[in-house]
């Protein structure tokens, strides 16, 4: 899809005193301290980041934006696609991970390749199987557009487009993607109560899952080998590719269990399309190896009732207020098709 966009100047809105809505809800008291706070970025920087996130100008042939593989309606994952897409219908090697609560993730991407949110966008922009572009050229392309010059001036104090500013803006938007509006969060703040089945599922979760998928983020965001058989085609060594340490072989980032309703397929290579397949894996599919997480050495065997209750609890982690938040969606007020 070759999308050509014409921008409507946002600057006029600024001049008219239009105030962009605050996109950052207050962090709940039961959340830990963020690793990378979004509070350091202004609302204009976030808004610029949102424009860049949805603009295919970041890709070499201007056909693919970040949102092509990170859809707001899928909690910024890519439903029905096990592996990420690239320009010219290229297929990547990993499942596009959902994007939310990144403020609490010290390292980003499935293998932790990115050590800071501000430098993470370099990877998909440059990857030949994804956007196949380079940051220097992105800066050049953006510098030619008056709308972006104005946006950069509003966000950073001058019209100059630099790699640093592009990266900071995209990071600002991605870090603003906070998701804690689920039923679980309402329960934690005393505004709702679990059903009996959800409560039972919560107990199952605490007993079997909470060590790695620790609440309230529902992940430690550490790296672990969960016993998946190695895909014969992808031969993905996970974090070892980054650290070159054998002890990191087959370790991948532990994903959050929030928003599972929207983020299928699951795992780093999207091999499981349903949660039932995930639970089957933990029951009987685990491949033992030196780096297997010790919590999984005996697998996780649940009764049918426990399984059903757990799924009921996990459904309380879905945050429709996040998925349908217009502040995170395509900025149609700034883009219009000719």
């Amino acid at each position: 899809m070759n999308v050509r966009m014409v921008f409507i100047s946002m600057v006029s809105a600024c001049l008219l005193g239009f105030a962009y809505p605050k996109q950052r809800p207050e962090i709940p008291e039961y959340f830990p301290e963020p690793k990378h706070s979004s509070e350091q970025y202004s609302d204009m920087q976030i808004e610029l980041g949102r424009m860049l996130f949805y603009d295919p100008i970041l890709s070499r042939d201007s056909t693919l934006s970040c949102s092509s593989c990170h859809s707001s309606y899928n909690a910024f994952a890519h439903t029905d696609h096990s592996l990420s897409h690239g320009i010219e219908d290229r297929i990547g090697t990993r499942n596009a991970p959902p994007l939310f609560n990144l403020e609490w993730q010290e390292k980003l991407m499935w293998d932790g390749a990115a050590n800071h949110p501000e430098v993470q966008p370099v990877a998909p922009i440059s990857n030949a199987l994804e956007m196949d572009e380079n940051l220097e050229h992105v800066v050049l392309k953006l510098s030619r557009q008056d709308i972006y010059k104005n946006m950069f001036a509003s966000a950073f104090g001058s019209e100059e487009v630099t790699g640093q500013r592009v990266l900071k803006a995209i990071a600002a938007f991605q870090l603003s993607l906070r998701s804690f509006g689920s039923k679980y969060d309402l329960v934690k703040s005393g505004e709702a109560i679990f059903t009996a089945q959800e409560n039972s599922g919560y107990s199952v979760f605490l007993k079997h899952c909470n060590t790695c998928h620790r609440e309230p983020l529902f992940s430690t965001f550490e790296f672990a080998n969960n016993g998946l058989p190695v895909d014969a085609d992808l031969k993905d060594a996970g974090r070892m590719r980054i650290t070159l340490e054998k002890s990191d072989s087959l370790l991948f980032k532990i994903p959050s269990l929030r928003n599972l309703k929207y983020t299928a397929p699951y795992m780093h290579d999207g091999r499981f399309r349903k949660m039932s397949e995930v639970l089957d894996h933990y029951k009987s599919g685990i491949v033992k190896s030196v780096t297997l997480a010790k919590e999984l050495e005996s697998g996780i065997t649940l009764s049918d009732v426990e399984r059903t209750d757990l799924m009921a609890f996990l459904s309380t982690l879905n945050d429709s207020s996040f998925v349908f938040n217009p502040a995170f969606q395509f900025p149609k007020t700034h883009f219009v098709n000719p």
Binding site: Q120, A123, Q164, K168
Partner: protein, 193 residues
């Protein structure tokens, strides 16, 4: 320089150790002269790019009056590698940043040689790394005590005398070989009296 001769981009030089003819097509590296106690010093980092227009690279810095507290560094340390996107010469868009794995490329040495076993006889050494056992930053071990203004030369002949382009013509990620080459490159710096 290459074995005492001024380095000219694209010119072939003879390496007697490996009986090879070597030409350099690109030489870039980050250099910093700073006081040892400084932890954040991004304003002192300069990207040096050697080419026909820049055969004499210059670097100015204001430092303390305590020469023994100075250090000359090649490359970027872990602090600057983990603090997000930086500006100027450290902007990730200047082409000295790894894309598949976060981190600066401290040194780029690229060229061709007769014996090089890589495709089109082209070698590429991209040296970096900032964590674990693969830290690419190096201190240049020269007596910096008495200079207000000094001249240095880089003798790439020393680098290639210890690098067999038939065996390992490409380093594109932090590694044992990358560590070795980083040290080797730092040792090519000489003061010119």
């Amino acid at each position: 320089m290459f074995q005492g001769e001024p380095l000219i981009i694209g010119k072939y030089y003879f390496d007697p150790i490996h009986q090879d003819s070597i030409c350099i097509t690109s030489l870039k590296f980050y250099v910093t002269l700073k006081d040892k106690h400084e932890e954040r010093y991004e304003d002192k980092v300069k990207l040096m790019e050697y080419d026909e227009e820049n055969r004499h690279l210059t670097y100015h810095q204001n430092l303390t009056d305590v020469p023994s507290e100075r250090e000359l560094l090649i490359g970027i340390d872990s602090t600057l590698n983990t603090c997000g996107a930086l500006s100027g010469d450290l902007d990730p868009s200047v082409g000295m940043y790894w894309t598949w794995n976060t981190g600066y490329i401290n040194v780029k040495i690229e060229g061709r040689s007769k014996n090089c076993s890589a495709l089109k006889h082209e070698f590429q050494f991209h040296l970096g790394g900032y964590s674990g056992k693969y830290k690419g930053i190096r201190q240049v071990n020269l007596e910096l005590h008495d200079f207000v203004k000094c001249k240095m030369a880089i003798e790439l002949g020393d680098f290639f005398a210890a690098t067999d382009l038939r065996q390992k013509p490409q380093v594109m990620s932090p590694s044992d070989e990358g560590n070795r080459l980083a040290t080797l490159f730092a040792n090519t710096f000489h003061l010119i009296r």
